[in-house]
């Protein structure tokens, strides 16, 4: 596409046009339609990311691409002709029907006075805009181009698509999205810039600006605007690339912890601010993905009357966990009593997970509560999100990050946690941070919620929709009262006559090593008695690794891996049998866990 490469100096994506009041006076925003708001917001955010002051910047051009243009306004004008008659058709609606409307408002509000252009080429609109930007930069018409792509969802195409999907079979696209993506591009490879990558083809006539949206969302993460931000951004870039855009893992990893928690207070505040900004683009994507998952899970449930929550459990193997609608209803009704004074649910867990389905969808539906989906990003301004009467549906890893950031809950916020055990000290810290009430759910994807507790050190109470099967004071299995479901308890659980129970350890099955039964949990317990070992995990090697046990060891502070290893080997030789001795030892700062805090392989 030409001789010189383009570099991106800043990027921003937005999926909604709300909150423009933060940037502009209200009088300038009157009568602005969604199309223009999207463009103006993304452009403003992009300039902020680039730290550009347009009062000082003279040499900037503006190019905006769009597949549809302001289609809602066009339909408004059509409606006004049909409903009011041509003599009364609204002239202002007409003036906003031109594709150039976005250029008009962006240039006026952001004070751009250089060359400007609008291009439209349906699904290749953004590529066309890149061609134009490259030509202008090479020509010297500008030093930099504020380059944008904006599109609404085409309301008419969307409705026709819903009623006559066959008409669109040749261009069908599930990812239809409204949004705006803006970039600062130049020919200069300045520090912090990234070379424009080859565009991956996501765009279709039903999602014409998808390539630009995709590029902005991901470029936004790679760009930063000072040194602290650079460290944070590099880290996020690496982590997100490694984990396939799994947000929480960024905070769960050891490097993330170090970045956030070993810095001085001042540095940490800055990193937090930078991270919050860097994540602002991901937030919207995460929310829309979560909403998509929730919608598709709910649709499947409605269509088939059942849903399969696949779980990887602690073994890493995918297992089916099928729940019928009747089972979910029984569970939802049986849980509703726990939330007598909740006014709104803030869910961090998509409904593709059984926990998300029950607490983000079924229970709120039964109680008639509104649900707001939020991404599990600890560094965003939760104090602005949460309000009195909220129930935050979260999980321990997220809550741990919140407490480590010294988060203070606004008045009257309750927290729900599940997916992994919530440690007692974390519960205490949450209460110390002003949390009104905690409900910890003990359960599993196989059966949903089994029991609940509110305070640290307290046992769980079996939920009323279960009958318990008890053998020798241990809870072996539970059976639903109304629907046919029996679940073997995955942990060793002590239970009293009132149904109060306490998990005391996992049931890890014995594994065979060279034909001999060994118990990984026992090996773990012994390893943890070594003074240098803070935590340990033991499991059988995967077939590709060998036939023995392997160990993952977290050392106490002050011990150095290669120094302690000979002593540790001697300790194991003394305490363990040959078959029990892990052949491979991996060191790390935290045990490997899944996104939801369960142990995983390494």
């Amino acid at each position: 596409m030409g001789k010189s490469a383009l570099y991106i100096n800043a990027a921003a994506f937005t999926a909604d046009g709300n909150g423009l009041e933060k940037y502009f006076e209200a009088k300038n925003l009157r009568r602005m339609d969604v199309f223009t708001k999207l463009a103006v917001k993304a452009a403003a955010r992009c300039l902020r990311a680039a730290e550009m002051d347009l009062r000082a910047e003279k040499n900037i051009a503006l190019i905006i691409s769009t597949g549809y243009g302001p289609v809602t306004r066009t339909c408004d004008f059509f409606n006004s002709i049909i409903d009011d008659g041509e003599e009364y058709a609204r002239p202002l609606a007409f003036s906003m029907t031109v594709h150039n409307a976005a250029v008009a408002s962006v240039s006026r509000l952001l004070n751009i006075k250089g060359p400007c252009l609008s291009v439209s080429n349906m699904e290749t609109s953004f590529q066309s805009a890149l061609l134009a930007a490259a030509a202008w930069l090479r020509k010297g018409m500008a030093d930099r181009v504020l380059l944008g792509a904006v599109d609404e969802i085409h309301s008419v195409a969307e409705k026709v698509l819903q009623t006559h999907p066959e008409e669109f079979a040749h261009i069908y696209d599930t990812m239809r999205q409204a949004g705006a993506a803006f970039f600062i591009v130049s020919l200069e490879n300045s520090p912090g810039a990234v070379a424009l990558p080859e565009l991956s083809v996501h765009a279709t006539p039903l999602n014409p600006s998808a390539d630009a949206f995709h590029l902005a969302k991901h470029t936004e993460l790679l760009l930063d605007y000072d040194d602290v931000g650079r460290i944070a951004a590099d880290f996020i870039k690496t982590e997100l690339a490694r984990t396939g855009h799994d947000i929480m893992s960024v905070f769960e990893s050891a490097d993330g912890a170090r970045l956030l928690h070993t810095a001085s207070d001042g540095e940490r505040a800055r990193i937090q601010k930078e991270l919050g900004f860097l994540f602002s683009g991901v937030q919207e994507e995460a929310v829309s993905e979560s909403a998509d998952w929730t919608a598709s899970s709910f649709a499947k449930l409605k269509e088939h009357g059942l849903i399969n929550f696949f779980t990887s459990g602690s073994t890493g193997e995918v297992k089916s966990c099928i729940h019928t609608l009747a089972m979910l209803r029984e569970e939802g009704n049986g849980l509703a009593f726990l939330f007598p004074d909740i006014k709104r649910v803030i869910s961090l867990v998509p409904a593709s997970h059984s926990y998300g389905m029950i607490f983000g969808l079924i229970v709120p539906k039964i109680l008639g509560l509104p649900v707001v989906i939020k991404p599990p990003i600890p560094v965003i301004q939760w104090e602005d999100v949460l309000q009195e009467g909220d129930l935050l549906v979260a999980f321990p890893m997220f809550l741990k990050q919140l407490t480590e950031l010294n988060f203070q809950f606004p008045r009257g916020v309750a927290v729900l946690t599940s997916t992994a055990p919530c440690p007692d000290d974390l519960i205490d810290k949450l209460y110390a941070g002003g949390m009104r009430r905690l409900v910890e759910i003990y359960g599993a994807s196989e059966g949903g919620a089994f029991g609940w507790r509110e305070k640290s050190g307290h046992p769980f109470t079996l939920l009323p929709f279960w009958n318990a099967e008890i053998t020798g004071g241990m809870l072996e299995a539970i059976t639903r009262r109304q629907t046919p479901m029996r679940v073997r308890i995955p942990d060793r659980v002590e239970i009293d006559s009132e149904g109060k129970f306490k998990p005391i350890g996992r049931i890890d099955q014995a594994v065979q090593v060279a034909g001999i039964n060994v118990f990984p949990q026992k090996v773990e317990t012994i390893l943890k008695t070594h003074p240098a070992v803070r935590d340990a995990a033991v499991r059988r090697m995967r077939p590709d690794e060998g036939e023995r046990l392997k160990a993952f060891i977290v050392l106490q502070e002050g011990y150095i891996e290669h120094e302690i290893l000979p002593g540790l080997r001697a300790f194991m030789k003394e305490k363990l049998t040959v078959h029990e001795t892990p052949r491979r030892i991996t060191f790390g700062s935290e045990l490997p866990v899944t996104d939801f805090g369960k142990r995983r392989d390494w």
Partner: protein, 396 residues
């Protein structure tokens, strides 16, 4: 810059091709008709338009828009003049840049009305709109595969399309660029401009005292722009040159130009610098000259400030405002006038507006100089300018 124009085609109310247009533009003979049958509007009885010749309208195929019909007609003529066959085009890097307003918009009013009313209606108009962006459609029409772009900078689209096309040649992105624009009479702009109180039921009178607004027009203009290397390798010749291009936004108002014309001044300065010319070199400027109060006032102010004394050609008095096509249609009229060495007279001029103190060329006027400038002002405050050299232009 100095970019070869090896062919040019045009369709507008003045004629079906450049030969007819050349003949008619010096006699102000153009089709100013009530658009009954073209737009289902009550205004079709009161507000005439400058319509493309009936013999062109009659050629419309069912699966194409009038806009695309005009565009391919003009492109066919331009390629014929350039001596470029489809076979030759297959050997070159060919870019396509098309400007428009209506033909890139959701312009299916009749479909929308029927669909919204719950009538059983075919979805063909909707699918056609989703499937074929304008430049892509022209590319497909000639079996081309290179770079393509549809400009939608409202009424500056045609000028931008030609300016960008010239840059693609200058920067060796392409050997040949088909650059032009089209637009057609459509209920949205037709009703919209009338409702904005800027459309006149009488013939428009650019820069005149008592001017009452614009008339909508339609048509297309297409230029074949060609690199010197490719042109000489095939022993082709240039019929004119694109010498400069500039564009700048007012950042002022969605529908009204900056009264001081600051954006237009910057665009003109850039274009003249790009062309390496001064106002003294310019034979005439083809004004945007829509005949609205605000547009003509802003332009007059800029002309006095920057190019005082340069004759002003006001061709919308005979073509109407062809919206997105205007810049391309008027660039064609400029080159025709340069090559004939005569500026066509503006029609309907009723007297000097003392607030403007500007009289456009109202008699067919012979010229000696070889350079013309054409400017376009758009909704959104975009101002675009190109500088054109005649066939005889030999500098640079």
């Amino acid at each position: 810059m100095k970019i070869n124009i090896s062919g040019m085609g045009c369709v507008c109310a003045l004629g079906a091709d450049t030969r007819e247009i050349t003949k008619n533009m010096y006699t102000a003979s153009s089709a100013f008709v009530l658009p009954e049958g073209r737009v289902g509007s009550v205004y079709a009885k009161t507000h005439p338009v400058f319509q493309a010749p009936q013999k062109i309208l009659d050629r419309k195929r069912e699966d194409e828009s009038f806009g695309f019909l005009f565009l391919r007609t003009a492109a066919d003529e331009a390629l014929l003049q350039a001596g470029l066959t489809r076979e030759i085009l297959q050997t070159a890097r060919v870019g396509v840049i098309a400007g428009t307003t209506v033909n890139a918009s959701f312009n299916c009013f009749d479909f929308y009305k029927a669909w919204r009313g719950g009538e059983q209606t075919a979805f063909a108009p909707l699918l056609q709109y989703l499937d074929t962006p304008l430049s892509g459609a022209l590319q497909k029409y000639y079996g081309l595969t290179g770079a393509q772009l549809t400009v939608v900078t409202a009424c500056a689209s045609g000028t931008d399309a030609i300016g960008l096309g010239a840059q693609w040649i200058e920067q060796d992105i392409c050997d040949v660029v088909l650059a032009g624009a089209c637009d057609e009479i459509n209920i949205t702009p037709y009703t919209g401009f009338i409702r904005l109180m800027v459309a006149s039921p009488k013939r428009c009178a650019p820069f005149s005292l008592g001017r009452a607004g614009m008339n909508i027009g339609e048509g297309a203009g297409v230029f074949v722009l060609e690199s010197g290397k490719f042109l000489s390798a095939r022993n082709g010749s240039a019929m004119g040159y694109i010498l400069g291009y500039g564009t700048c936004v007012d950042a002022w108002h969605i529908t009204a130009p900056d009264p001081e014309g600051k954006g237009l001044i910057r665009a003109m300065r850039f274009a003249m610098r790009d062309a390496g010319v001064t106002p003294a070199d310019i034979a005439f400027i083809n004004a945007h000259g829509t005949g609205t109060q605000d547009n003509d006032a802003a332009e007059a102010r800029v002309f006095h400030a920057l190019i005082a004394g340069v004759p002003v050609m006001a061709s919308k008095s005979v073509t109407g405002h062809t919206l997105g096509a205007a810049g391309a249609v008027e660039a064609a009229l400029c080159l025709l006038s340069l090559n004939v060495r005569m500026i066509p007279a503006a029609a309907n001029f009723t007297g000097v507006d003392p607030a403007l103190n500007l009289t456009p060329v109202i008699q067919n006027t012979a010229i000696e100089k070889e350079i013309a400038m054409s400017d376009s002002l758009a909704f959104g405050g975009c101002n675009s300018v190109i500088v054109i050299g005649s066939q005889r232009y030999s500098h640079g």
